[in-house]
Amino acid sequence: VKIVIVHGSPRKGNTYKATKLFKEEMQKQGEIEFVDFFLPKDMPDFCCGCMTCFLKGEEKCPHADYTMPILEHMVSADALIFTTPVFALSLSGCMKSFLDHYAYIFIVHRARTEMFKKKAFIISSTVGAGAKAAMKTISTSLKYWGVNRIYTYSFTTFGDGWDNMKAAKKEKSESQIRKKAAGFYKETASGKRHSPYLHIRIMYLISKFIIKKYTDDSSLDKKYWIEKGWYEREKNPFKY
């Protein structure tokens, strides 16, 4: 089992410690190869919004040296884990920057078929509030990538920090993380494919229609959809 972890925190604080525990627990369950990416080191530049990925191809992205290898790893992995602390009541800036670079694999553009059987897990920690909003932003992106199921876990530290948390509270968080980790391993290893999210299915049908009707024959998106055979009968990424 191969799992890609994208660490969205620039410091190795509460979120990282929780992720470490999650990793350890998963490793106890079975043989796992983890590939770690640390932001912002592995994606230092902001998306410049040049639309090159949509119009000319992702390999022409000005930051392709960073984006392409990470995508390759993500595509070949069995599951994805994203972690983010809460900054300004939402996800961290570097995680946002990471997500911005992958808008071209949204289902309305050129979704990767491999994504449709993947599971993903999002871990977040916060001092007070905002973890839900932070995770929602990531999970929205992931859903549009086509990821099959997304699971989340967040905890509130109230400013104490992972190491200084009250024993009872820490134990509770730890046992929750252990449980979630074991569950996520089972889910990943089983390779079971759940029925896709309803609104993603609807988005798929809408994009299918729009791309066929309104985009130019020379557009990369249309070529990709035709090449994948999604316009043929009985063929769609959900079944791949």
């Binding site: 620039p10 998306c47 919004g49 900054f87 300004a88 570097c94 911005d100 932003t137 992106s141």
Partner: protein, 275 residues
């Protein structure tokens, strides 16, 4: 140039009744396309009413590093930030202006990473809000959909910073744009500019909403109970007299708001005791 301290002591031009209002627009896109053009359109209709000095700030032109999440700005004050870049330059621009506009395109159903990072870097102001009486508006440009949630997020961020937030606008600018659509967009921006202008000319200290009032009372009570003199937030609140005051600034609250405030204090205190 007015600095943060002058501003906090009430030396900002806004309280002096000067007629020329300064408006600054932060643009969170690296391109000079739809987002920029939307702000240009806003500038045009604001200028029509006169007396406004408009300035653009392209976040891409400033060096702003990724927030490290070290929390030093919360605990020891923003001067202890380990990153030495243009953050203070950008903040000085807000301190010296009367109206602020945050404009961002929709990237992956959220603000652009550049705008997000800017918000991360000034997050200490969420703890110690100071832009009272200044007007704020958010502008979001979207391709097809998803901009509404971003507008909501950016507007609530403005409130967290202390601004008087007026309803912004979410513009659909996917090309090609027909003439009819163009007209509608311009109309929408014009309406937004009127709202903005009205609030800018009044620039008054508004009575807080129930939510903001409760948030203030709860947070000040927990700061009072959890933190101590070693913490900058605590010292700042104490210095400002926020541990005793009704709200961040002097404003007369009605009977209902007053009692809700008292109740929030009480319940926060109880929450702390039971923690």
């Amino acid at each position: 140039v007015l600095k943060r301290n002058d501003f906090i002591q009430g030396k900002s031009n806004i309280y002096k009744g000067e007629t020329m209002k300064k408006v600054i627009a932060f643009i969170g896109s690296q391109r000079k396309q739809s987002t920029y053009q939307a702000v240009r359109e806003l500038e045009k209709s604001l200028n029509a009413s006169g007396g406004i000095n408009f300035e653009y700030v392209f976040l891409k032109d400033y060096r702003l590093e990724y927030c490290k999440g070290c929390k030093l700005c919360f605990d020891k004050g923003e001067r202890s930030c380990p990153l030495e870049d243009d953050r203070d330059k950008l903040l000085d621009k807000i301190y010296t202006s009367d109206g602020v506009i945050f404009a961002t395109p929709n990237y992956s159903f959220h603000v652009s990473a550049q705008m997000k990072n800017f918000l991360d870097r000034i997050a200490f102001i969420f703890h110690r809000p100071c832009f009272f009486g200044k007007t704020y508006m958010a502008i979001v440009t979207q391709g097809i959909f998803g901009g509404g949630a971003i507008l909501k997020y950016l507007s609530s961020m403005g409130k967290n910073l202390g601004f008087n937030v007026v309803k912004g606008c979410c513009l659909t600018t996917l090309e090609p744009i027909t003439e009819y659509q163009q007209k509608k967009l311009i109309q929408e921006v014009k309406k937004a500019s009127l709202r903005f202008c009205k609030s800018l000319m009044e620039s008054s200290l508004l009575s807080p909403s129930f939510f903001r009032l409760i948030m203030f009372r709860m947070s000040r009570t927990s700061i009072m109970n959890i933190l101590d003199d070693n913490n900058y937030d605590y010292r700042y609140f104490k210095e400002k007299g926020w541990f005793e005051s009704d709200y961040y600034y002097n404003v007369s609250l009605g009977l209902i708001k007053k009692s809700i405030g008292r109740f929030s204090d009480y319940s926060a205190k109880r929450m702390y005791k039971n923690r």
